[in-house]
Amino acid sequence: MALLETDRLWKKFGGVTAVQDIALSIEKGEILGMIGPNGSGKTSFINLLSGIYRPDKGNITFIGEDITGLPAYHITKKGIARTFQNLRVFPNISVLDNLLIGRHCRVNNSLANIYLNPFLSRKREKEAEDRVIELLDWVHLADRRKELAKNLPYGEQRLLEICRALASEPQLVLLDEPCAGMNPVEMDTLAAFLKNLRDRGTTLFIIEHNMRFIMSIAERIVVLDAGTKFREGSPVQIQNDKEVQRIYLGEEEDA
């Protein structure tokens, strides 16, 4: 059974059809890439999966459960986390608090607990803190946990955003152009990090414009064009597909 499946997903904005009849499946433990020219509906598709948009038609199934139209916070709780194309860490709060917010839905504290049993609630907060510090340790950000997120260098803010998504212990992470604005060295570090993550059992769905990056880490690639699924195949197949080159690279020549 696929981890996530979409069935004939549609999303329209006024007269524009952003996502048109997309059916695809994400298998457990894989890195699935998605490419496509600007405006082909990639980000809209991720917004549908993460519950920011509600599909007009079609279904989304996650581990055998219909999650179509659930609000974003509910989908995160089900085990799908995401990052944003334009970096959206919480800039004015500490690195540690960013991650603790990411872990929000896994901290089992009710209002009753907080007021009537502050010691238990404090203990659970501490547990959450220990878990996210482990995570920070893993990416070598632990000693900068008290710094405000906005004071980190750009590459580390990107990393922080991914870690914030991981703090909710997701089974599937949706990454929207994770290496936008990165230099080649940062990109290689990120690629190694993401592969490592996949080896630990997290499934990744990555939208990316950078061909070198996506071809090097994705096992399967889906190409979108004008809101529809245009091609699907291995990186080699996609690279050698004349039609893909036409819609994709053709546009880059014009630009």
Partner: protein
């Protein structure tokens, strides 16, 4: 190391508490104690408002209405229905919480400036209703002759008695808000302030949390109102004008948004300024405005910025 900080903090709190208890016996001037009581009322109000405005980032210009709901509830219950103080206090708080919940409901759809307009409208409607509904609220004359409150045999009469009652309520307010803001709830509120969309993707039920922050913040305004009613022994609609809401917002901003301890500083600075310029009432608003502009120019994060008090 953290243990040491905690120990120091505990010492700080103990020291502050000791000072607070000794204060009225050292400075016996009733004028001074009266002013401290004023600071206490506004601290309770502004701590609640700081949760709404400073933590969650919802601009509410209707806080005085919740203050008024608490005050009128206590006044009516104690004068017309023979309630004693404690049940009136509890009912006042819960009633304000309930109205906060109601006004919080539209936050699901109405955002930013439009929500702010809604809170202004709510505050004005409240004031006009209290003015017009003479049978129930006494109209513009308000309600007079609120009886002396009693708590377990303790008759609260003098300025010093009220000082200790206020101190207890303030302790309750600060303590419960501290527990809340240091938990996942406090972080969720801050996340909503910083980036609501990102917050919802973090698994935070943002509509629910916005309603929650509004309800809880209003609860404390109800408590402050109840205290005001028994302290003044009268309540009138003019206690709860839009200017009051504005003053509370200025106090929160001057102190530091998103920082509970800073609220005390903001309230004290503004209270002293208001007292100081009492002889020239025509310039008072001008000076309050000037203080706020200066603070925003030179310390936009407030006198004690959001992170200044964090260990």
């Amino acid at each position: 190391m953290t243990l040491r900080i905690k120990k120091n903090r505990l010492l700080l709190y103990a020291g502050l508490l000791a000072c607070a208890i000794v204060l009225p016996f050292v400075v016996r001037d009733p004028y001074f104690i009266g002013m401290v009581n004023f600071i206490i009322i506004y601290s309770i109000l502004c701590l609640g408002l700081n949760l709404i405005l400073g933590y969650t980032g919802l601009l509410s210009l209707g806080h005085a209405a919740f203050y008024g709901i608490g005050a009128y509830a206590t006044a009516i219950l104690m004068t017309k229905h023979g309630f004693s103080f404690l049940p009136s206090l509890i009912v006042s708080g819960l009633l304000a919480l309930f109205f906060g919940f109601l006004l919080g409901l539209p936050t699901r759809k109405v955002r930013g400036d439009y929500f702010c307009l809604l809170t202004i409208a709510f505050g004005e409607i409240f004031r006009l209703v209290t003015q017009a509904w003479i049978n129930f609220t006494g109209g513009a004359m308000g309600i007079v002759g609120i009886p002396i409150p009693e708590l377990a045999g303790w008759k609260i009469q003098t300025e010093i008695d009220f000082y200790f009652l206020g101190l207890g309520l303030l302790g309750f307010t600060y303590g419960t808000l501290h527990l809340l803001t240091e938990s996942k709830f406090g972080r969720a509120f801050v996340a909503i302030r910083e980036d609501e969309l990102a917050a919802s993707v973090m698994g935070i039920n943002t509509p629910m949390y916005k309603i929650l922050t509004f309800s809880i913040g209003s609860l404390y305004a109800g408590i402050a109102g109840s205290y005001l009613a028994v302290y003044q022994t009268t309540v009138t609609p003019s206690n709860f004008r839009l200017e009051e809401s504005c003053l509370m917002i200025i106090m929160v901003i001057v102190g530091g948004m998103g920082n509970l301890a800073a609220t005390f500083l903001g309230v004290s600075v503004m209270a002293v300024a208001i007292e100081f310029f009492r002889p020239v009432p025509e310039y008072r608003l001008l000076i309050i405005g000037l203080i706020m502009i200066l603070v925003l120019l030179f310390r936009p994060q407030g006198l004690l910025g959001a992170s200044a008090f964090k260990d």
